[in-house]
């Protein structure tokens, strides 16, 4: 079972068990909305992450992906590259970030220009070593394009996977985020042994 289906399965199972647990009248009142919510969630999950780039050229994408991969690098855990951040960015450029298309085409050129400036023998950012790439990015830090690609890399790493990034939920796994549709107490380590509310005078 792949993770998409697994997630759907859990969501449906939860919703159905919730129905059984609730009073009959309540369920009767609400089940259409609940089923609609579950179906909607399922539909959204069925959106297949894009496998082709639609906006960025392969050359631009190689430069952008190389930069993203230094912003959230791959080490013993997956980074921006494994999360498919480049696909998130490509899709963003035809949806909510369509205003930023030009920023990315000029940005890829800026990356190349700064690389050549610092390392005259290297033609492309993506061909530089990780240390050289970090030096280029440090030189660009604070500039609007750096801030843009940083924001989009973070978003693409931690977004809902239906947005094309966070593949396999690698970003969520890194930060310990569980995207289950519902939880029950206790929620964390420190509320496990909570004895219940007592006014200050009655404590101990």
């Amino acid at each position: 079972m792949n993770w998409d289906l697994h997630d759907d399965f859990n969501r449906r199972k939860f919703l159905l068990s919730g129905l059984r647990g609730a009073g009959g009248a309540w369920a009767a009142l609400h089940w259409p909305a609940i089923v609609a919510a579950a179906d909607h969630a399922a539909r959204m999950r069925e959106a297949i992450p894009p496998v082709r780039l639609e906006v960025l050229t392969p050359d631009q994408a190689a430069e952008i992906e190389a930069a993203s991969s230094r912003i959230i690098p791959t080490d013993d855990t997956p980074g921006a590259r494994e999360a498919g951040v480049i696909y998130f960015i490509d899709r963003a450029l035809s949806t909510f970030a369509s205003d930023n298309r030009d920023d990315y085409s000029t940005g890829a050129a800026v990356l190349q220009a700064k690389t050549r400036e610092l390392f005259p023998d290297i033609a492309k950012f993506s061909q530089a070593t990780p240390d050289q790439q970090d030096a280029v990015l440090k030189a660009l830090e604070g500039q609007p394009f750096f801030e843009l690609i940083r924001s989009h890399t973070v978003m693409g790493f931690l977004c809902d996977p239906m947005r094309g990034g966070n593949r396999g939920k690698v970003g969520w796994k890194l930060i310990g985020y569980d995207d289950s549709p519902a939880f029950t107490p206790p929620f964390g380590y420190y509320d496990r042994d909570y004895p219940g509310w007592k006014p200050p005078g009655e404590k101990k």
Binding site: I72, P73, I175, G176, Y177, F183
Partner: protein, 549 residues
């Protein structure tokens, strides 16, 4: 949405209400159940709960539930002398239910002092600090009404600072989270009085609505199960069931029209196709929020009302208050998993009134939460000693589940130059002058926030938090609490509406929302907006029966 009555715009209904949020939704319910014909004009869409999602991109980047700066750009300036720059300055709910759909659900009553603080504290130089023309005692039945009609969870008597109440909460408080336990234990050590947070979120099924499933997406998101007590989930369905109330969506009101006698005759609005329409009404109520209500009056100027409708005082749009806000972060050794369930489970009001002998005015509350989503955390919570990208940044991201926030919510003083006005140059997608916000925190407001920040640091010290970092205390340039721009008062020279929400200048034009506030409260205004709206519905209905509205 349920099947509902529809009126022709040419039909003169009893009330046209502009806005369906915290105030508009309550007024729609109050007036339609009292037997009146009501049309509510809402800018945004009717979004069914099944379309609410946990997708941060849809919520924050695509403005699913809020005003979209692409269509409705805004400008900001620090002082009236500055040239305003294009910027998203004001964020509000733009859908049926308004801001009550995406709000966090913190639901504090005002205390007695909030209504009479000017008398108690005296004048504060450089401000329009004033008493309200009503008191807590007059508001108490309406606070109780809100709690029972809308559905509020909480524990009566848990805070020694709470004002008197006539009834307990209808449902018990939400289960505590790790942030609440850490906060409660540390605050007790310091002799403070934390208590279970009152929330507009149902801990148990109530009046046919479902209880919270602890999904964790309250703040900024819509509730998929209707457990958040938005007006969309609570009172608007009741209004519809009367068969007298039409909620007309994608209807962007741009002018309140008046006749030769100076009475309101209805409102002009753009329909979904940007086509101008006119809805007739015997009376008009504007509940478009503390920014858009003022903007609409300014847009409605005429030869008779040259500086804006109902603005003979000149204070429409002025005395904007947005509440101070501040966050101190702390990470611990074990997971708190604060992304689960409601944002806040414990709060304290020990600093509701900061000792005047410290030399400044102010007060507030402190609550425990995380209050941010994965992307929001990764973008906005980075400590100063952690790089913003690279290996060390990635390693810091892993602290997400171990991090909490102490959030401070504070007073804002009413300063005349802090305002909502019409931008002289920028237009929105409908060709209307864009909204301009002018805002510079009063020095006492910043002192208040710094004071609360210090108290939060003491609490986290008592909690033995291994790592603590605070956001800078600085002047604000972004607002979600929109208060005071059409202030209530007895004197028509210094206020826009009277205590019954009727404008001093136009006898059948009423305003009710955050714009009505005289003072800011301590940072959780929605409860008071809704209590005012229930009270206004009673007053306006009575006036209409007397033939005065």
């Amino acid at each position: 949405m349920n099947p509902q009555v529809t009126y022709r715009p040419s039909e003169e209904v009893d009330f046209v209400i502009v806005g369906s949020g915290a105030a508009g939704g309550v007024l729609a319910k109050g007036l339609s159940t009292a037997g009146f014909k009501v049309v509510v004009l809402e800018q945004g869409r009717w979004i069914p709960p099944s379309e609410f999602s946990h997708d941060e991109i849809k919520t924050f980047q695509e403005s699913q539930l809020t005003n979209n700066p692409r269509e409705q750009p805004q400008t900001f300036r620090r002082t009236p002398q500055d040239k305003a720059q294009k910027k998203l300055a004001v964020l509000y709910g733009r859908l049926v239910g308004g801001g009550s759909v995406h709000f966090t659900g913190n639901f504090w009553r005002f205390h007695e002092i909030d209504f009479i603080e000017r008398s108690r504290r005296g004048e504060i130089a450089g401000t329009g600090f004033a008493d309200w023309p009503l008191t807590y005692a007059e508001m108490e039945p309406y606070y109780t009404k809100v709690e029972w009609e809308v559905g509020i969870s909480g524990l009566a008597g848990a805070s020694p600072f709470d004002p008197p109440r006539s009834k307990p909460y209808p449902v018990p408080p939400m289960p505590v989270k790790s942030s609440g336990v850490i906060f409660e234990r540390a605050a007790w050590k310091l002799g403070l009085h934390p208590f279970p947070a009152p929330l507009a979120i149902l801990s148990q099924p109530y009046r046919g609505r479902a209880a919270c499933i602890h999904c964790g997406r309250c703040e900024a998101f819509g509730c998929e199960v209707g457990a958040k007590s938005s007006t969309l989930a609570s009172v608007i369905p009741v209004a519809q069931q009367t068969g007298r109330c039409e909620i007309r969506t994608e209807s962007y009101v741009y002018r309140v029209e008046t006749n030769a006698q100076g009475r309101a005759t209805g409102v002009a609005y753009f329909d979904a196709g940007h086509k101008p329409q006119f809805q007739k009404g015997r009376a008009v109520i504007v509940s478009a929020n503390g920014a858009e209500t003022a903007r609409l009056l300014l847009l409605s100027s005429s030869p008779r009302f040259p500086q804006g409708l109902a603005n003979s005082s000149g204070v429409v749009g002025k005395y904007l208050m947005i509440n101070g806000y501040h966050e101190v972060f702390a990470s611990f050794d074990e997971p708190l998993d604060e992304y689960k369930s409601v944002a806040v489970t414990r709060v304290l009001h020990d600093f509701y009134e900061i000792d005047p002998r410290l030399g400044f005015y102010g007060g507030g509350g402190i609550d425990a939460r995380l209050g941010t989503t994965p992307i929001g955390f990764a973008m906005g919570a980075v400590p100063g000693d952690v790089p913003r990208w690279g290996k060390a940044y990635k390693s810091w991201l892993e602290s997400f589940s171990r991090t909490m926030v102490l959030a401070s919510h504070a007073t804002s003083l009413p300063v005349e130059t802090n305002s909502i006005s019409l931008d002289p140059d920028l237009k929105d997608a409908w060709g209307l002058p864009a909204l301009c916000m002018t805002y510079k925190d009063h020095p006492d407001d910043l002192k208040t926030v710094r004071y609360l920040c210090d108290r939060a640091l003491e609490i986290l010290d008592a909690a033995k938090a291994p790592k603590v970092w605070a956001a800078p205390v600085q002047e604000q340039s972004f607002a979600v609490h929109l208060l005071g721009t059409c202030r209530m008062g007895n004197d028509p020279k210094t206020s826009v509406i009277n205590a019954d929400h009727c404008t001093h200048d136009v006898p059948n034009l009423f305003l009710c929302d955050g714009s009505s506030f005289v003072t800011s409260g301590r940072g959780q205004p929605t409860m008071t907006i809704e209590a005012l709206a229930f009270r206004a519905a009673d007053r306006i209905a009575a006036a209409a029966r007397r033939g005065e509205a």
